[in-house]
Symmetry: C2
Subunit: 453 residues, 2 copies
Amino acid sequence: MKLQPRILVIGGLAAGPSAASKAKRVNPDAEVILIERTPYISYGICEIPYYLTGEYQDDRDLVVYSPERLQQHKNVTVWTHTEVEHIDRNNNTVQVKDLMKGVRRKEEYDRLIITTGSSPRMLPFMKPDMNNVFTIKELGKAYELHDFLKKHKPRTAIIIGGGFIGLEMAESFRKLDIEVTVLHRHIYPFSHMDKQSGDILVSALHENGVHYVPNSNVKSFGANADGNVKTVVTENGTFDADLVIVAVGVYPNTSLAQDAGVETGTTGAIKTNERQQTNLDGIYAAGDCCEVKNLITRRPTYIPLATVASKMAWTAGENAAGGRAAFKGAIRNIAVRVFEYEMSRVGLTQKEAEDTGYKTISETIQAPSRIPGMPHNARLTVTYLADKETGRLIGATLIGKDGAAQRGNVLAAMIQQESTIADVAALDLMYAPPFSPLWDPLLVAANQTLKKL
Amino acid sequence: MKLQPRILVIGGLAAGPSAASKAKRVNPDAEVILIERTPYISYGICEIPYYLTGEYQDDRDLVVYSPERLQQHKNVTVWTHTEVEHIDRNNNTVQVKDLMKGVRRKEEYDRLIITTGSSPRMLPFMKPDMNNVFTIKELGKAYELHDFLKKHKPRTAIIIGGGFIGLEMAESFRKLDIEVTVLHRHIYPFSHMDKQSGDILVSALHENGVHYVPNSNVKSFGANADGNVKTVVTENGTFDADLVIVAVGVYPNTSLAQDAGVETGTTGAIKTNERQQTNLDGIYAAGDCCEVKNLITRRPTYIPLATVASKMAWTAGENAAGGRAAFKGAIRNIAVRVFEYEMSRVGLTQKEAEDTGYKTISETIQAPSRIPGMPHNARLTVTYLADKETGRLIGATLIGKDGAAQRGNVLAAMIQQESTIADVAALDLMYAPPFSPLWDPLLVAANQTLKKL
């Protein structure tokens, strides 16, 4: 590689700025250019629900690095309002279009990092001119939603999709005193929740005034003349709405890469090796546009989460700059706050495990999060999923008003280290009255699960 | 073994009731008798500091099971006010003394479980009639201290010993508006704290009005005629006190066992195998009277903590009743609240590691506990200790106002699974704005430590 290689990074949301900064740090002589279609780079999607309520308060709003700050602090050149239209792998060039001037040009690269991210799934009957329908994905849209809430003071909101974004938005809207209905296609929020955790979560929603409608496939929108959606029509009835949030998942943005000959995998996302190299020489990829190895099943999986994207981005950035980093994969570790409840989901669901061929056993226990008699103690519900054959812990769900999220990380560590339920039972966890009970719920659950193994 | 064996358990504080209950559960036909010298069994030592301030509020105060409840709920016979004076290993009998009646008798056993616990270390010039000097170990003493505080309303307290009990008592006394001086023999609280964590802890004490005096060996007490200690004399000066707490550690109660021929190990505590069997046939031991294998160094160590004692007790109880349980050892995992700070110490200290022959590297970082801009975010200081040769994580200290204790458990899991710093850096930890930053401090610390390896 040249001493002063030119590294182009396509896509500026999260993985892009991270990969670009890393590349520049690894090889300060490299010319690193971040190319982004919109005016914004480097911002937080996950903070949007808390930004809308004002719980999240930061001078920079949702923006981690403005183009100017990324340039100043990380020495990365940033081109916003610039779209990459085509990658010419044979000539190591990309065709870019300056969206402000409408002018196209060719740019050379020595290394390319594709961080084109993901897009929110749409519903077939959604139209661009529906002014009161929002997805939670782009910064521009978040600012629009913020303005919409201030200007129109909607009384009712329909949230389509009961995944973590849907539930976080439900909490935020309730805090803004908006009547909220969540329409979800499964019986419980998320997918394949166990009954005990699911029931707790649904109760939490109801207790907090959220109208949760399970098994609801949305069939159409009723809109009025100005394009605003007034009703959402489902198999379970028609619901009025001043505001509609569509949060039914995301899909990887791969068309630019695919057109250039970059291979995608079984998940539909870009396939890379541990170095984040695609099948094409000199072309790396990272973030939500990529699939990732599930460290439990060893199979490719699609995990569009910021935590996973960040690690991929560092790896791609380092390697594009001549380093030797590896990203081995992920297990999927999600924590979400739903009103006063914390929920953690780590590893495989029962359905995923069975689809992979595992014979599973599962066990659910309830135990105090701290010692009874101390403040903040609350009942924690812990569900373990284990591989019957090896005794390995392969999945877990924790839900309760105290201590679920951080405990999920303990289980993530154990799952990732390929530990058995017996290993979990043997863990030397701390005890101090302000923080925990003598027998941590994680140990109680392990001892109970052991009886079934 | 007989179908209806008789299992005697000597010592009723924590390990004893636990071992007895487990034995009865494993073999309901066994006759299980718990023998305790004092009127009290099955109580919490760790809760005492919080009981004194009223933060800990439970109907049963500090008692988990009264003798009656243990009998009723667990079918364990309890003899309180009964001292075991001698074990006759050849005839499988013990000589007990009824302390109420002053009568001695012999009792047969098929299996014996020794759970004689530990006693607080005393200072050479402590006398039993010093009415305002307390150790934090026995329930009777805790009740006496509770009464003393109410009756005498002391204005000043000297705490001798800056370990976790000393610091917890300092917090409690400050909450009761007592002027507190902590005298500690090392520069920082605990032993062999690193400078950065130690400085934070000492600042926390000072900020909360605790007078912390480092490097202070106590030389004598000045007492007045009624036996009350009025002054504590150290190399660093003489301190006035209405109340003195001595919290300078504990030692294992082994004399009864040793007299019977039970072997102790290099630590001075009773030596057992993984089944909690002593060297003598049919005699098990568990809890603070025992040493335990350190899973990092693979050497015997003395860890008188309730968490470790509980696991030993279950193992001893199960095996004494004919089961096949094993307790593999511990790593030492301590969490303590010091006013608004949480501190976690896991695994080896640098001194312990070097004494064991490790070549170590250590690294300290500071990172936000949650995403900046969200409530409760606070700076967390994380120190890792790694084995230079293998890259393994062998110790950690975390201190901060948020999220130190539970994160210590994540590191405990990694240390116990013999993970490397690179494994920690690769952990798939959750990100959600209410709970954590995108790059968890545990990952930041690992990435920083990797640079030194």
